[in-house]
Assembly symmetry: C2
Homo-oligomer: 249 residues x 2
DNA sequence: CGGTGAGTTGAAAGCAATCAAATGGCGTGG
DNA sequence: CCACGCCATTTGATTGCTTTCAACTCACCG
């Protein structure tokens, strides 16, 4: 809770100029790492910061895409939902991940999925048109975007394997490993204890199971001594290798 | 690295000069549509054609990536497999689709999945290094590649919804609609009868079911008068709207 | 101290997987 | 031209994993 003080200040002063890209948490990660000091100034000029609380959405499925964004802190989910209550999370976004349907095309598009904050979320927004202009001006930026998109495609395909062929236990184990890795990338260091960013319902929607099955499998891993729990969210990874085994291929 | 002249590239017998890009089936589709006549000549210079028969593979999961390719005719599958026999098709590639793990990064990578011909397949191959050079020289090419990658990402996420949340009947109906659309894009026109490019086993691996379940659901659709069959592969779409209903959201 | 919502646990039902066998298409060889 | 064998597909019977329905626990908060 202590480390949230900086974010809290960012809320009250939402102008980019007062908190320029130079000192940004993700200045040297993700897209922005592709830009030089001079180039980053152009980005600063069009950037706007925004804060979302858990459950609040940045865009809704079907909306017209108006802006792109970079996540500077927190976790967001990409959700595709059906009228009948079924919904599937098609991606999780962490610190330094980029949000945007189709940059570079120069034409308006409708959002293919909702984007919802699952933790307190800090964003850096870019208006569509202006960002596209920069994209064309700086090839390294477009190249970096291509690489990130390819990474996401790879991840989506990994998830297709999970959803199409893995058992409930394998899915939960894979999910736990996935989150652990992402949390580490987000600067938390190699901790073996941290809070899951998602509740049971979101986990279920991410790995294609029901809440009850997720709960049962987590209990099973706990009873097997693979993980330890403190409350529902705080997880300690006790037997990392055992978890990998249970995650399957 | 010294870049050799285009003339020096005329090594292979089946090289591009004997069948230049200008008259290619996909000259004005996919990646190549982003290039002018002058620019396409550079592509012609590094291109090499190749033919694969059903079951033959272009790359194997884990191999080092050596080349990119364009599909000029036929259908290929992207497969991720496990030792225990389970496997999942993470993508189908049709005419004008691009094959390649991570262009533009300039470094070798291992292939994340095998690429296997499911029909007679005609390819246009590009050596990794040389293609990357062109990518940097022609921004429109890189931009087009970004767009296609974003499209594929969108498709992969659609499939995540299918694999995570749809019933067996919805999966089969969705698959049939998907294939129909792809076949039409491949220049077959708005036919309502054609051969499925995949056998039951591949369909099962694509939509996350077993062969038997796929067969049962197809039979059910036939008995319901939604589709008609002539043998196992030739399908006639009788009730398009009914198929859409059964495909779910 | 009760209310609420998230999570856990139990029992029963359902849907797809598995096991098993029959059918059909197709090329080969008699 | 037909018989045979092989392989893909279909169909049937049973099993079993996950879902569904339901009740209970727990933490948090007014």
């Amino acid at each position: 809770m202590v480390e949230r003080s900086r974010a809290a200040m960012g809320v009250t002063v939402t102008n980019a100029m007062t908190q320029a890209c130079a000192g940004c948490a993700v200045r040297h990660a993700g897209l922005c790492s592709a830009l030089s000091s001079d180039e980053i100034a152009d980005l600063t000029a069009i950037a706007r910061r925004k804060h979302l609380s858990p459950g609040q959405s940045l865009v809704l499925e079907g909306d017209t895409a108006r802006e792109f964004a970079n996540i500077t802190d927190g976790v967001a989910k990409l959700v595709r939902g059906a009228e009948d209550g079924r919904s599937q999370i098609v991606g999780l976004l962490f610190q330094s991940d980029f949000i945007g349907a189709a940059p570079g095309t120069g034409q308006a598009q409708t959002e293919p999925h909702s984007i919802v904050a699952v933790t307190e979320l800090e964003l850096c927004l870019f208006p569509r048109q202006r960002f596209d202009t920069l994209l064309h001006r700086y090839p390294t930026l477009e190249n970096k975007l291509l690489q990130q998109t390819l990474d996401e495609l790879q991840l989506a395909r990994d998830w297709m394997v999970l959803l199409g062929r893995k058992t409930a236990e394998e899915r939960v184990a894979t999910f736990l490993l996935h989150v652990a890795q992402k949390m580490r990338n987000s600067g938390c260091g190699p901790l073996d204890t941290f809070d899951l960013p998602l509740g049971r319902a979101d986990i279920a929607d991410y790995i294609g199971l029901t809440i009850e099955t997720v709960s049962r499998q987590i209990s099973k891993l706990r009873k097997a001594g693979i993980i330890a729990l403190d409350g529902a969210k705080s997880v300690t990874y006790v037997d990392y290798e055992g978890l990998k085994e249970r995650a399957g291929f």
